[in-house]
């Protein structure tokens, strides 16, 4: 077996674990939502994954371009061509799917697109309608995600300036997190969240949240490893280091959040601790096989300290983000992207290249995603009606819920 064959086999095995991240996020979103929208939350994750995969198949693969035998559309500055967008065929036409490298890239990107679509669901919990959400998921996967993935992984201008993102901190987590910010801006807060002085609207099942967090972690290690093997020039021998760094960053994030919440509120906050764990895991992705374990722990520690303050700050600004996805994936992804530049040994200006990645995320991914969400909102309102939100999305959009006995009691109560 040649080293190339071994890398292919390792990437394929890692990719098989990746769906656990989708399952984990679906479970977390269900736990963070209220009981009357729990089934809707899990179905939304399935629908978003499906829509994103189809969206990427139709258009995203053309914009990604690399590995598919098509050159980038470039802009030439000072005689140097800079890759702006892929120019492959739509529907994966012309891609040699019998060759390991393109086939693996397609498989990985479909899962990555699905994750980008699932990340913002928790932020729109209890009020994001299913059909507009499906359309938004397909468009975000096909346009901003595919273009950004081309820039950083597909030979585009970010990779040309030497920017790195081995495990998807920017291309997956930050794009998904910024999409969460955009949809939170658009949907507004849940009923009762800030009315009459405001009130806490805690998730209905913390066990789901914590178990989902562990599932996401298992899947994320596979996804990060596959990404590093495919796009980060890692070797199969790096996989144990990637797993160790991911675990250490997540652990440091969890313990830091535990300490901060205990110091501030007197008791540890389970949902924030789960988010601290995920934020550490997300942040270390960009540099997962390029740093030593102590540095990974430091990356996790920093985001674990930032996280509770960020969640609180967003709440003060009136951003109702039930799952904390904006902080976990948005701020965690941005922090990990910058930290990679500060810690990875390489050329002196690595950190400057990483700042440009952040600028590209804020300058392309966020506005384009927001424009797409707005466009869908014009066709079909993204937010459910006030009555639908009151009854819960399970009954309103699905006709049946996760906990029928509980819903009958609530129905009687509302009709009284």
């Amino acid at each position: 077996m040649t080293p190339a064959d071994l890398t292919t086999l390792a990437a394929a095995l890692c990719l098989l674990v990746a769906p656990l991240a989708l399952a984990g996020l679906a479970l977390m979103n269900a736990g963070f939502s209220r009981s009357r929208s729990a089934a809707h939350a899990v179905l939304s994750a399935l629908v978003a994954s499906a829509s994103a995969a189809i969206g990427f198949l139709i258009l995203g693969c053309a914009f990604f371009g690399a590995f598919f035998g098509a050159p980038s559309r470039t802009i030439t500055v000072h005689g140097l061509p800079w890759g702006l967008i892929g120019s492959a065929h739509t529907f994966l036409r012309g891609v040699d799917l019998h060759s390991a490298q393109p086939a693996l890239a397609v498989g990985f990107l479909l899962f990555a697109a699905a994750l980008v679509a699932v990340i913002p669901l928790g932020s729109g919990a209890d009020r994001w309608r299913l059909y507009p959400m499906a359309l938004s998921a397909a468009l975000v996967a096909a346009i901003p995600f595919a273009i950004f993935a081309h820039w950083i992984w597909g030979g585009g201008w970010l990779s040309q300036i030497g920017a790195i993102d081995a495990g998807g901190s920017s291309a997956i987590a930050a794009v998904g997190g910024l999409s969460a910010l955009s949809i939170t801006w658009l949907l507004g807060p849940r009923q009762g969240k800030y009315d009459d002085g405001g009130m806490a609207l805690p998730g209905h099942n913390m066990v789901m949240v914590l178990f989902g967090c562990l599932l996401t972690f298992a899947g994320w290690i596979g996804l990060t490893s596959a990404s590093a093997l495919l796009f980060g020039a890692a070797t199969p021998a790096s996989i144990p280091l990637i797993a160790a760094n991911t675990l250490l960053a997540a652990s440091a994030g969890l313990l830091a959040t535990l300490w901060v919440t205990r110091s501030r509120y007197g008791k540890a906050d389970a949902s924030l601790c789960a988010n601290g764990f995920l934020a550490g895991m997300v942040a270390v992705g960009a540099s997962c096989h390029l740093i030593v374990p102590v540095e990974a722990a430091a990356i996790g520690l920093a985001i674990g300290v930032i996280l509770p303050f960020s969640v609180e700050w967003l709440d003060i600004l009136g951003l109702d983000d039930p799952s904390g996805a904006i902080t976990v994936f948005g701020i965690g992804g941005l922090w990990g992207t910058f930290a990679a530049g500060a810690l990875v040994p390489g050329h002196a200006a690595q950190w400057l290249a990483q700042l440009v990645v952040i600028s590209a995320l804020l300058g392309m991914a966020l506005p384009v995603t927001h424009l797409l969400h707005l466009a869908v909102n014009l066709i079909a309102p993204q937010r459910v009606s006030a009555e639908g939100e009151q009854f819960g999305l399970d009954l309103h959009e699905l006709g049946a819920g996760a906990y029928p006995e509980l819903q009958q009691v609530m129905k009687d109560h509302l009709n009284r």
Binding site: W82, W185, G188, P381
Partner: protein, 62 residues
């Protein structure tokens, strides 16, 4: 999101690209990237402010 905020966010991206495409490695390049990020930070502040002001008046952006 206000149009001005959207414009400022969008404008930062070509600025930071231009820093690498047009300038050699130098303090000027660094300054250009920081300027791009500052423009985008201003855009973000405007977007957050517009959302907050809207929330004070009604519920939701729609």
């Amino acid at each position: 999101m206000k149009a001005a905020a959207l414009f400022l966010l969008l404008a930062g991206c070509p600025l930071s690209f231009a820093a690498f495409a047009l300038l050699p490695p130098s303090p000027a390049r660094m300054g250009f990237v920081f300027a791009a990020l500052a423009v985008q930070l201003l855009g973000l502040v405007l977007a957050f402010r517009a959302y907050y002001a809207h929330q004070q008046g009604s519920g939701g952006e729609q």
